[in-house]
C-alpha cells in the first residue's frame, strides 16, 4: 500500500437526506490493520459505508479510496472487497461456482478463478462444503462465503458490514479469526458490529460514530485515557475492603473509594496506569488477601456509553 494514497480518506464529509443528517463533517484516514466502526443504530455507519462504496455522493467534502473518488470511478473497486450485511447470494450456485463467478467479474481467467476460489473457501473453512448449493448453507456459512467472495481477488481494503450478525458462536469465532488474520497480513479491514465484545476481540483500533458525527478514532485504551471527566475504576474483590480502602486512599493517584457490593472495593483514579503501578505494593504492604482485580470501565462498552450517552 502506498503511503501517499491511504486506503480510505474522508475529508469533512457530510451527507444529509432532506432534513436528516446521515454523516456530519467526518474526517478520517484508515490504512492497514483492522478498524472497528461502532455506533448505535442511526449513527451513520451504513451511510459511511455507502459513501465509501460510491453508492452515495457526499453533499460536502470528499471521499477517496486509494486516492480515487469512488463516486466518479469504479477503478478503486479492483482493490476493495465488500461484505454487506444483507446482500443476497445466488442461491442455486454451489459455493465454489459462486465465488469463482465473482472472481471472473474481476477479470480472472477460468483457471485462475477456480484456483483462487478454492483457496479462499479453504481459508474461511468452507472447503468441505464448497460443492454444496449456497441456498443450503447455514447463516454462518453464508457469512463466510460472502467473506470468501470479497477476498477472491486479494483486495487491499476489505469492508465488512456486520459480518457476525446472526452467526452461531463457532461461526463467529471462525470469522473473527479470519478478520484478525487479514489484519495481520497488512490488509486494511474495516468492520462494523454492534457486538462490542467481539470487536474488542478483533481489534483495539476503533471509530465511534454517533448521530452522524465522528466521536472518537484511534486505540481503544488511548481514547479511554483521554476521557478525563470519567474517572477510571479498579474493582478489587477482597475479604477486607474497608482496611484495603484505608491503605489506598492516602496514595496520590487515588482520589476516591466506593464499596459497590459486599466484599468489593472500587478505587477511583484519574491515572489508571499510575494506580496499577502502586497496586501490588499497597496490597502486599497491607497484607490483605485479594481475590481479583478488574478494570470494569476500560472496555468498549463503557467507552461507548461515556461517549454516546454522556456517561
Amino acid at each position: 500500500m502506498s503511503s501517499e494514497n491511504p486506503a480510505v480518506v474522508m475529508e469533512s464529509v457530510s451527507k444529509w437526506y432532506g432534513e436528516v443528517i446521515g454523516v456530519n463533517d467526518v474526517s478520517l484516514a484508515i490504512d492497514g490493520g483492522v478498524t472497528g466502526v461502532l455506533g448505535p443504530n442511526g449513527a451513520g455507519k451504513s451511510t459511511m459505508f455507502k459513501l465509501l462504496l460510491g453508492r452515495l455522493k457526499p453533499n460536502q467534502g470528499s471521499v477517496r479510496l486509494f486516492g480515487t473518488d469512488p463516486w466518479e470511478s469504479t477503478a478503486p473497486f479492483r482493490r476493495v472487497g465488500y461484505v454487506s450485511e444483507t446482500e443476497p447470494l445466488y442461491e442455486w450456485m454451489t459455493g465454489l461456482d459462486f465465488v469463482s463467478t465473482m472472481a471472473r467479474l474481476h477479470g480472472m481467467t477460468r483457471e485462475e478463478a477456480t484456483d483462487r476460489a478454492e483457496h479462499v473457501l479453504d481459508f474461511v473453512g468452507l472447503s468441505d462444503v464448497q460443492h454444496k448449493e449456497v441456498g443450503k448453507y447455514s447463516k454462518g456459512m453464508r457469512q463466510r462465503v460472502k467473506i470468501a467472495h470479497a477476498l477472491v481477488h486479494d483486495p487491499d481494503l476489505i469492508i465488512l458490514d456486520e459480518p457476525l450478525h446472526g452467526c452461531d458462536p463457532l461461526a463467529r469465532t471462525s470469522i473473527m479469526s479470519v478478520i484478525r488474520e487479514l489484519g495481520n497480513r497488512g490488509k486494511t479491514v474495516i468492520v462494523s458490529s454492534h457486538i462490542l465484545e467481539e470487536i474488542e476481540r478483533i481489534t483495539e483500533q476503533i471509530v465511534i460514530l454517533h448521530n452522524g458525527r465522528l466521536l472518537a478514532l484511534g486505540n481503544l485504551h488511548a481514547i479511554r485515557g483521554l476521557l478525563d471527566k470519567h474517572p477510571h475504576r479498579i474493582l478489587i474483590e477482597t475479604e477486607s475492603p474497608r482496611e484495603l480502602a484505608e491503605a489506598f486512599i492516602s496514595r496520590e493517584p487515588v482520589y476516591g473509594v466506593r464499596f459497590p457490593d459486599q466484599g468489593f472495593l472500587e478505587i477511583q483514579t484519574s491515572n489508571l496506569s499510575a494506580a496499577h503501578s502502586i497496586l501490588p505494593q499497597v496490597i502486599v504492604e497491607s497484607g490483605i488477601k485479594v481475590r481479583s482485580v478488574e478494570n470494569p470501565d476500560d472496555n468498549l462498552e463503557s467507552l461507548l456509553g461515556y461517549l454516546v450517552g454522556g456517561g
Binding site: 452515495l56 473497486f77 442455486w92 474481476h106 481477488h153 488474520e181 497480513r185
Partner: protein, 337 residues
C-alpha cells in the same frame, strides 16, 4: 392380617405381574465406552494472489456469459427455470418449422405436392417478412412470449433480490452492467428470431439447389428482412429491459411487456375498425416494426399512415425505453439520493 408375610423364596407382586425377575440368573449389562476423543487443528493461511486482473472487456464478457450460459447450464450461471428453458426451446423449434416444410417440398420434387409446399413456404417477399414479422403465430404467440421469458427477469431479479450490489461493489460500471444485460438478452432473442430467419433462407437455397441467379434476385430481400429482424430484436429488448428495470419481479415485467405489445395493438385495431384510421398503430411497437419491415422488403403496406410516422415512433419507443433503462440502472443501489 396378623400372618407374617414370607418374603423369602417367593415372588413379589411386581415380579408376578411384569415378570421383572425373569432372566436375572444370566443378567448382562452393557456400558457405553467413552468414545475416542478426536480433534483437528486447521491452519488458517491466507495466500496472496500475484496475478493480473483482466481488463474491462474480460469483466464484461463474464457478465455476458453469466446470463447467456444460464440457458444451457445451471452450473454457475443465471438461473432459468426448466419450464422456461423448454418453452424457449419449443419456440426455437417451431420457428424452424418452415425449414422442415422446405425439406418436405424438396423431397416432393417437381410434383404437385412439392409445388404447393414450395409456393406456401418458399422464398418470396411475403414469406421472408412473415418469418420475422408475421403476426400469427410469430408476433402473437412466439416472439413476445420469448422476450417476456428472457428479458423479464434480467434486471428485475437483481432489483428484487438486491443482487445488483454484487456487480456494483466490483469494478463494473453501470453502463457496462446495462450494456451486457442488453447484449445477452438481444443475443438470445437474436439466436431464435434472426438465426431461424437466416437458416430458413439458406435451407431454401440448399434444399432446392438454387443457383446464383436466385441468390442475386432474393438477397436484397433477405437483407431487408434481416434488418427488420434486427430492429425487432433491438426494440423488443429495449422495451423489455426498460420494463424489467422498473420492476422487482420477472412476472410483472413479463406481463407488462405482453400487455404493451398486445394492448397497444388491440386499441389501435379497435380504433381502426371504428373510425377507419390506422394512425394509432404508431403506438403499437409491433405494427411500427411491421410497417417498416413491409417497406424494407418492398411489399404493399397494410397501413394508411405515412411510413415516416412509424420511423419516428420507432425511434421514440427505443429512445424512451433506453432512457428509462439508463435512469433506473443509474439509481440501482444508490439509495435515498
Amino acid at each position: 392380617m396378623s400372618e407374617e408375610l414370607d418374603i423369602t423364596g417367593g415372588v413379589t407382586r411386581m415380579e408376578s405381574a411384569f415378570g421383572s425377575g425373569d432372566g436375572d440368573e444370566d443378567a448382562q449389562a452393557t456400558v457405553a465406552q467413552n468414545a475416542e476423543i478426536k480433534g483437528a487443528i486447521f491452519e488458517q493461511t491466507y495466500r496472496p494472489w500475484r496475478g493480473t486482473l483482466g481488463p474491462r472487456w474480460v469483466r464484461n464478457y463474464s457478465i455476458y456469459r453469466h446470463h447467456v450460459y444460464g440457458l444451457f447450464s445451471s452450473k454457475g450461471h443465471r438461473h432459468y427455470p426448466v419450464m422456461v428453458r423448454l418453452t424457449i426451446l419449443g419456440i426455437f423449434l417451431f420457428s424452424l418449422s418452415p425449414v422442415a416444410m422446405l425439406f418436405l417440398a424438396s423431397m416432393g420434387g417437381n410434383g404437385e405436392f412439392g409445388e404447393v409446399l414450395s409456393r406456401l413456404w418458399g422464398i418470396n417477399r411475403y414469406n421472408l417478412w412473415g418469418q420475422v414479422l408475421g403476426f400469427f403465430p410469430r408476433n402473437m404467440c412466439m416472439w413476445p412470449l420469448l422476450t417476456a421469458l428472457v428479458v423479464g427477469g434480467m434486471i428485475s431479479d437483481d432489483r428484487g433480490n438486491g443482487t445488483s450490489a454484487i456487480y456494483f461493489s466490483r469494478p463494473v460500471t453501470r453502463i457496462d452492467y446495462a450494456a451486457m444485460k442488453f447484449l445477452s438478452s438481444a443475443v438470445v432473442l437474436g439466436f431464435v428470431i434472426v438465426f431461424s430467419y437466416i437458416l430458413y433462407y439458406t435451407s431454401a437455397i440448399v434444399f432446392k439447389g438454387e443457383g446464383w441467379a436466385f441468390l442475386i434476385d432474393t438477397f436484397p430481400m433477405f437483407l431487408g428482412g434481416l434488418l427488420a429482424g434486427i430492429l425487432l430484436v433491438f426494440t423488443y429488448t429495449s422495451i423489455g429491459l426498460a420494463l424489467s428495470s422498473i420492476s422487482q419481479s420477472r412476472f410483472f415485467a413479463g406481463v407488462a411487456f405482453l400487455a404493451t405489445i398486445y394492448g397497444t395493438k388491440m386499441v389501435a385495431f379497435l380504433i381502426e375498425s371504428q373510425f377507419d384510421s390506422s394512425i394509432l398503430y404508431i403506438f403499437s411497437p409491433y405494427d411500427v416494426l411491421a410497417h417498416i419491415g413491409q417497406w424494407l422488403l418492398g411489399i404493399e403496406s397494410n397501413y394508411d399512415h405515412s411510413l415516416a410516422f412509424s420511423v419516428v415512433s420507432l425511434l421514440l419507443i427505443n429512445g424512451s425505453s433506453i432512457a428509462l433503462l439508463a435512469s433506473r440502472v443509474s439509481s440501482l443501489e444508490v439509495t435515498r439520493e
